[in-house]
């Protein structure tokens, strides 16, 4: 070979001309390290922001927590700010009901859809179905709210409520006690559609962590595809499925505008999915900035925000830990 490696030739040239590469290398190393530190700080900022928000919310809500005690606030059943009664219990239950109904409606469909996409669908089907599902996540919540208002509320009022009265009326959680469609079920249906894309895409990722070797091992002894999914794939992905559901639930917990447009916003303790409710995010969004002259009102709303934030953080952190473990195993 007559050609000389260009790198090598440079090096020999440097040596021949008596150049010392070290000083510039140190400068470059310093610049590199400075850049690294800068990027690190920018990466750290969001984490600090979460901490800062949490701490700030805590201090702003401290006046009411110190006066009433956390358990009186959380479990107090009456919300009459102008009489000094700040019970969050109706709002907490409202949040829980709406979230549970949304998750219960979404999860079975999401499991089936993600099984189809990950296990059965042809690559071509997948390559157009997945982007469309992801697109659902890009629709602004207020549009979902309008859809709920125009389509779901009347549907629940005119179709589902009479059906339920006729067939399920004796079961208390399905009894219809209010004359409107602005209720937990409407909010749950809207939420289910909103959280489905997230749950499906996380579940799909989870399914693709299962090695093909395992599917083939099962198919090789003459198992059908469904037997393979049920006996080999599903047992592997159990924790991941649960994490996907929790992640969807935490999205549902925090969803504000679409829910408050259809849920009725009545601070009561719900007993049926056809009751109106008043979830925490709706409470904060509807009232913050108004009637702020009432003593402790500001602190009450911010402690509601704190409760919401802490619960959602815990949900998210738990599911992220599970999901990371699962994807690392791959």
């Amino acid at each position: 070979m007559s050609q000389v490696d260009p790198l090598l030739s440079n090096q020999t040239k440097n040596q021949a001309e008596g150049r010392h590469p070290r000083p510039s290398a140190t400068l470059r190393a310093r610049q590199d390290q400075a850049a690294r530190r800068a990027f690190f700080i920018f990466t750290l900022l969001p984490v600090l922001l979460i901490l800062f928000i949490t701490v700030a919310l805590f201090f702003r809500s401290w006046p009411i927590i110190s006066e009433y005690g956390l358990s009186d606030l959380l479990f107090g059943q009456v919300w009459k700010p102008n009489k000094g009664l700040f019970g969050f219990w109706p709002f907490i239950l409202g949040t829980v009901w709406v979230t549970v109904v949304g998750v219960v409606l979404a999860v079975p469909l999401c499991i089936l859809a993600s099984i189809y996409l990950a296990e059965y669908a042809h690559t071509k089907t997948r390559s157009f179905a997945k982007p469309i599902l992801d697109l659902l996540a890009a629709i602004p919540p207020v549009v979902y709210g309008v859809w709920g208002l125009l389509a779901i509320v009347p549907f629940v009022d005119d179709v589902l409520a009479p059906l339920s009265t006729r067939w399920l009326g004796s079961i208390s959680i399905f009894s219809v006690n209010q004359p409107t469609g602005f209720n937990i079920l409407s909010a749950g249906i809207v939420l289910a559609v909103m959280i489905a894309p997230l749950i499906i895409s996380v579940m799909y990722e989870i399914f693709s962590t299962v090695l093909n070797d395992l599917r083939h091992a099962s198919l090789a002894v003459g198992a059908t595809q469904w037997q393979t999914i049920r006996n080999v794939v599903l047992p592997q992905v159990g924790p991941g499925i649960l994490a996907a559901i929790v992640l969807g639930a935490s999205r549902a917990l925090g969803e504000t505008i679409a829910v408050l447009m259809v849920v009725g916003n009545i601070p009561q303790i719900p007993t049926s999915i056809f009751d109106s409710a008043y979830p925490l995010p709706a409470l904060i969004a509807n009232n913050y900035g108004e009637m702020m002259s009432i003593p402790l009102y500001d602190a009450a709303l911010l402690s509601a925000a704190l409760v919401l934030l802490v619960v959602i953080l815990i949900f998210n952190i738990l599911s992220i830990i599970v999901l990371q473990r699962m994807t690392r195993k791959k």
């Binding site: 083939h216 198919l219 090789a220 002894v221 003459g222 198992a223």
Partner: protein, 251 residues
């Protein structure tokens, strides 16, 4: 020759690329047939047409016939799970199912509802673990996860799992290539013991293994079968230049 598998005018395409070109061969019953050839020659593809596993890859096309016991397994009336019950596969990498040792062997029998009660299943699990030469090593920990076994033990477990559904044919896709020499030898001696009762087809890229195991040899090159015949004939007196070159280590 008493042929167990007959391949007639078989062509296989991956997309537009032809992987098998007009393959016509017969696989003798209750012998070990070895498919050999350089990598990319289509030997694994050919093997995977015998249990319809190549269908698991998308965009494949197949023309021609593969007859097992005289029945074309690509006939529309044939149930693919039945084909795979009759034609077992030992994969390249041991892939125990994520369940206990016992359940791995139990799995296929249970899916095909092959036994009446627990007692029969238990006896069958023991039987096939014994055949695979694994019983003595695992009988005290049958309910441990299968992944706790060594890699060589895992491959013998996979053998037991495959045999448990009572196949007539065992396919092996380089079944020892992921194993250490002692485990490989162990698998090889199992296969030699089993050849009285099962038609065995092994893909291998090691010539020495082909010589140790083969009763009947198929040599492939670029998607075509170049030469097929009894092992002693092909090894001692190859008819084709390419086969000769391969045996002499030129390819």
């Amino acid at each position: 020759m008493d042929a167990h598998i007959q391949v007639k005018n078989l062509n296989v395409y991956y997309g537009k690329q032809q992987a098998l070109k007009n393959v016509n061969i017969e696989i003798p019953k209750n012998q070990i047939t070895v498919i050999m050839g350089p990598s990319g020659c289509g030997k694994t593809t050919l093997l995977k047409t015998f249990n319809r596993f190549f269908e698991l890859t998308e965009n494949t096309q197949l023309t021609g016939e593969v007859l097992v016991d005289g029945q074309n397994i690509y006939d529309a009336s044939v149930d693919v799970t039945e084909v795979r019950k009759v034609v077992g596969l030992l994969a390249q990498r041991p892939s125990p199912l994520p369940m206990s040792i016992y359940d791995n062997v139990f799995y296929g029998m249970h899916i095909h509802k092959m036994k009446k009660d627990r007692k029969e299943y238990k006896a069958a699990v023991q039987h096939y673990l014994e055949i695979a030469g694994l019983w003595d090593e695992v009988h005290k920990r049958l309910h441990d996860p299968a992944t706790s076994l060594s890699i060589g033990q895992q491959q013998r477990l996979c053998l037991a799992r495959g045999l448990a559904v009572e196949p007539e044919i065992i396919l092996g896709d380089e079944p020892t290539s992921a194993l250490d020499p002692i485990s490989s030898q162990n698998i090889e001696s199992r296969l030699l013991e089993l050849k009285q009762q099962y038609t065995t087809v092994i893909v291998t890229h090691t010539l020495r293994q082909a010589k140790r195991l083969g009763d009947y040899v198929i040599y492939m090159y670029l998607g075509e079968v170049i030469e097929a015949g009894p092992a002693h004939e092909v090894f001692n007196n190859p008819q084709h230049e390419r086969t000769k070159a391969y045996l002499e280590g030129q390819i």
